[in-house]
Every structure is written in C-alpha cells, then in structure tokens.
Amino acid sequence: MPDGVHVRVGAGRYAFDVRDVREVEDRQRVTAVPGAPAGVLGVCNLRGAVLPVVQVNELLGQDAEGGRFIVIADVDGFLAGVTVDEILGVEPLPGELEPDAAAGVRGRALVDGELVGVLDTGEILRLLADAAG
C-alpha cells in the first residue's frame, strides 16, 4: 500500500494519497478572487507560481477551522493548495476501504482506532473546477 499524508480537517481525520501530494506548507497569505466558486479561497504565491487555494471542509461535512496548513496537491500536473487544520504524519494508507457516500472520499477505514477518510484528490479538484464553470 502506498503511504498517505494523514491530516485533520475540522473534527475528522483524512488521508491524501502521498502520490498526489507535492509538499506541505504553512498557510500563506491568500488573495481572494471575487467571483470564484464556494470552496475556492483564492490564490497564493508559492515561490513565484500562482496557486489556487481551496477549502474542503464543506465538501467533507466538517466545520471550518483555522486551516493552518496547505497541502499542495498535484494531480497530473494540476496544482492546488488544500487547507487543513493539522498534519498528523505520513503512514501507510489502509488497504481495505469501506465505501463512503461523501463526495471526494474514496472510502473509509479504521486506523489506530479512528475512522480515516481516504481522499480522492482528483475528484475533489474536478468538483471544484466544475463549480467554477
């Protein structure tokens, strides 16, 4: 099983497939983009590149918190920053997943006695892009 980047969004624990993650950054200054769809906070300057920053708590049914960190997701060269509240570490992704109806979640499994939602980063970015028209 590939590794996962385990994070906390609101009260929930989630994991990104490490192959979809380029790096993790402290939250940057975000410039709002008026007219952008809900979920897109704006853009930030990541070492000279313009990076869209998105918030997934609504999609995942979690309360919005500070979003202290940005997980820089890279799906087939499509880059976006996803805000999360806490970085829990890198651990293998659970092998067998229970199906989950939530959008952007591939499935769930118990890790260390806690339910972890394994994120479908590609779907999350697609959903946000579709919302943008």
């Binding site: 007219g35 853009v43 970015l125 892009a129 943008a132």
Partner: protein
Amino acid sequence: MDERLLSIFRGEATERLDRMVQTLLAVEAGEGDAEAIRELFRHAHSLKGTAGMVGLGDIGTVAAAVEDVLSQARTSGELDPAQAGPLLAVTDAIRGAMEGRPIDAPAIVAQLRGSEAPAEAAAPAPEPEREPELARTNGGAPAARPGVRMLRVSADRVDDLLDVAGQALTGLRQWEHAVGDDVDEFTRDALEQGETLMLGLQHAVLDLRTLPLASIVGRLPRAVRDIAAAEGKEVSLDLVGVDAQLDRAILDTLPDLIVHLLRNAVSHGIEPPQEREAAGKPRAGRIVLRAETRGSEVTLTIADDGRGVAPELLARAQSPLELADLLATPGLSTAEAVGDLSGRGVGLDAVRRDLEGLGGAMLVTSEPGAGAEFMLRLPATLAVLGLLLVERGGQVFGLGLTNLEEVVESDQIIVLGERVAVDVRGEAIPLVDLADVLGMTAPRPASGPAVIVAALNRRVAVRVDGLRGEREGIVKPLGPLLAGVPGYVGATFLDDGSIALIADGRHIVRRSTTVAAPVLDAPPAAPARAAETAPKVLVVDDQFTVRELQRTILTSAGYTVLTARDGREALEQLAQEPDVRLVLTDIEMPVMDGFALLLALRDDARWATLPVVVVSSRGGDDDRRRGADAGADAYIDKAQFDQRTLLGIVQRLVEQP
C-alpha cells in the same frame, strides 16, 4: 533597376527564404531527409536564376554557392546538421542584401566552400572577416551569424525559463521589501545590483519569445500588388520598422488582421488609376505599414493615400478612438455605406474584436481625399503587460494600460435619471463600481477616482478607492481551477510577494450594463468652468500615471486637458487643436523627447510664443539651462512637484496677455 521587377523578386525570394529557414531548422534538429535536401536545392537554384535576372549579381553568386553545397548533399542523400547553421546565416545575409545592406559575396562563398568538406564541418566554422555586416542588426532577433549554430528550442521550455526568471525576481523583491530601507549601503547596493541582473535575465528570456514583425509581413507587398492588380488598380506597400519585436503568440494572430486591413485599403481606400489622376494624385496608390516600439507596446499603422473615410462619418467622430468605434460598428458598412464611399468598415468589428483579444486597441484617423490611417496598439509581449494598479476594498487589482483612456475625479459625476455617469468633456460615460463588476462586497467609497476603460466599442468609468501606480507585470495564468471564473486575464506579483489580479477590460464593459449604478454619497458638484471657455492645456508625458495626475489637477482647476505620449503625438494634437493655451512636457520620452518638442515648437511660427512648462525628473542645472535655452517658459522638478506650484505657474502663463 526597374523598381517593380525588384519588388516582385523580393516577394518571391522572401517566400523561398522563409521555406529554406524552416527546412534548415529541421535539418539542424536531425530531421532533414532526402526530400528536404531536394526542396532546399530547388529554392537555391531558383534564387540564383531570378537574382541574376533582376541584376542582383551578389545574391546570385551566394545562391550559387549554396546550390553547390546542396548539390553534393543531394548526391550523398544527406546533409550534415552542422551545415545548417552556416546555411541559415546565408539566408539572413541574402535577406539583408534585399533590404539594401551590403553583402560580402566572396567571403560567404569561401566560407561555404570550407564547410563543404565533412572533416571541417564538425569543427566550428571560421569567423568571417566582415561578420558584423552579415549579422542581422535587429536587436534580440535570432541573429544567425556564420559559424554560430542555431538551436531549436520548444516554446514551452522558453516559458519555463521565463517562469524561473520571474520567480527569482519576485523572490528578490520580496526580500528587498522585507529588509526595508534600514540597511547598510553594502546590502542596499548588493540588492539593487541583484535586481538589475534579474531584470536583465528576464528581458533576455522575453527576447527569446519574440520575433521581428518582418517574419510575417515579408510576403505582403506582393500580396497587395496582386490584390490590386485583380481590381485593376496599382498599389505598392512599403514596410517601415518591421524589425520591431513581438510575442510569437501575437504574431500568430496578427497576419489575418493586417491582411484584412490591407485588403480594405486596396478595395475601399485606394481609387482606380483614372480617378486618382483626375484628383491630381499619382496613378499608383501607396500603403505604408509602419511599426514602432514604445516601451512595452508596439504601434502598427497602416496608412493609405486613398480617398479616406466619408466626411459624413468623420463628422460624427470626435477622436481617433471614436472613429474606430464608428467604423467597427457591426452592420455599418451595409446599412450606411454608399457604395465604396464609406465602406471602410467591412469586417472591422472582427478585426477589432481579435485585437482586443490580444490586449490591443485600434485608432483611426482620416482626411477626406488624402487617405486613412489605421493604428493598432499592441502589447509587445503577452507575458508582460503594462498595468495601472488600483485599489478597491483593500485589495490591489491591475488594469491593462492599453484598455485605459484616462482617470477622472468624482466631482465630474452627473446623474441622468436612474443612471449615474461621468461627464468627460461633454460626454456622459456610465459609471460602475469595480467591486460590483467583479462581484465583491466592499463599502462604497466616499470619493475616489474613476478609470475610463474602453473595450468592445464602449467606454465605462470604473470607480476605485485609489491608484497605486503603474508598472510592468509578468502575467501569470490563474490556472485551470479558476479559468472558468470570468473577469480576469491573469495575476501578477507585487513587490511584497502578494498577488494582484488583473481585471479584463472587456469583462468590465460587458458587466457594466447589468450591475447597479454606484450609490452617491455626495451630491455632484457643478463644473468649475463651462467647457467652452475652459482654456486648453496639453500634457505630454510617456507615463500614464504622470499624465493622469497632471490631468486630474488641471481638470479640477477648470482647464480642459489634452494628452500626448511623446513629442510627436503632441505636435499632432496641436495641429488638430490650434487653440491650446499651454503645453506641459516631460523631457525623457520615446520617439521625440521634450527638448526636441520645444525646438520644434519654437521653430514654428504658430507655436513660437505658446507657453511651455518643462516637468522633468532630471533636476540638474544643465537640463534647466538647456530647457531655458530651447525656449521653455518654466521648469518644474518632478521630485519637488506639488499641486499649488503647478497651478500657480499654469495660471500665470495662461492668463498673461
């Protein structure tokens, strides 16, 4: 030599050279096959023949030497990629010779003979003695010198390089911003030097993205002659300044626009030979395509000496921009044209739309009976844009300078029933709030300037909280996630590393009809003076911000203000507006500087006593003296610029008997 014959040869040779260059680049990349060699041989052979016919013996000799090299390659079935470089250099030398530059045929022939031998081909070719004359002298163009190998690099890789250069510059500026002013001299110098180097790097990479306009217009003189001949007319096209550099992406779109305008000029502008002779004009019509670089902008003018725009249309337009608006109104040519008399608008709406898609703008001037001039203003590159930074709701936005006309103050606001508009010299321009147009919520500004944005044949005044200066910014795309959000052409970085979104002028104009008019916090004030009696002042400065600052100050004091971007535009403005009472001019400007303008004015009886105030950042006594010698009436140092001084001087000079 028969000029007509020569121009036919130039047309044909340019076409052949273009094809040879393409094939040679393929050969150099290792993609040259037997068919490529046959094709090259054919072109060289034809060039040799026709050059001899029109008496260009040197070109013939050089083409013959190229033919020899290719003849051997044809026999062996392969051309060494290392030979492509020297051959490319020869195509450039031939092109140069056609444009009247000297060509050293014996040196080129000797060099080609040398590179024929396979053993020598691999070694760097010797530098020819007269290399500077062979090299193309058009700045950053791909100057293929003999002995210098050309690289074929994909545009993506150049863009990657531009990206990295831009990042390095942004990083350095962020650092400079972070350390602030409180640093020792050594650190300050090191940072400044670093920035200079980084800017140099960025410009060097930008140069890689650009090509001379000549690369797309070479065949046009012949095309114009052919179109004209088909209509029983005689028309020549002259190309001026076509070494101006433009972004490849712009050069891809431009040919269609230029051909359209040329076609219009031939079909609707230039009269048939008999009509021209009856009007006392030369039998053959003349079109001039002229390119000029001004800072980050290239101005392309297509001027013909035909019958010009119909007087009844001219009478309806107050300015070159309005005339372009009028001619580009869809349906004008069918609804109002009387035959060819005013049919200059055929398809101009499409030309204008494509031009605005590139971030450009169109202006038209015409004199009935004497011709018409279409001026296209284009950004030299799509990667860097001249921007005016404005602030609204605590956020900084960029507006492309090519879409901007001027900045007006709130006291010119008028209410027309439900609509709120700005009075600009008698014209009511609808006013909108930038926040509404972009869909952001921000408290209404109590006062603030409005920027006049022109696009899609319309003008809109856009209210902002304040202006934050003018700059050249690298344009970054917002990426696929935000590509569907309308209203932006991209983003750029500010000195502190934060991002400013660049608003799309076309979106602003489109949205302006659906958003609510801004609420007024103060009743509009009456203009200080009636427009008819307001003295006219001409402001000349190449910087938009400076022009607008002076315009704002002078307008609020009751003057009517005209503007020009350089000395030449100033003279053009004066010719149209003879009742200008005073000129305010900068010194350092492109095309024609302030000193030259002063001398030209003092030399002309009409303007010899017109008051001229020099406003310059060159505060030195020398300049002050030079200005005074050239006939300036007053001198204002930009570093000590203040509103009251300016108004005091202007008032004194305008009201003097």
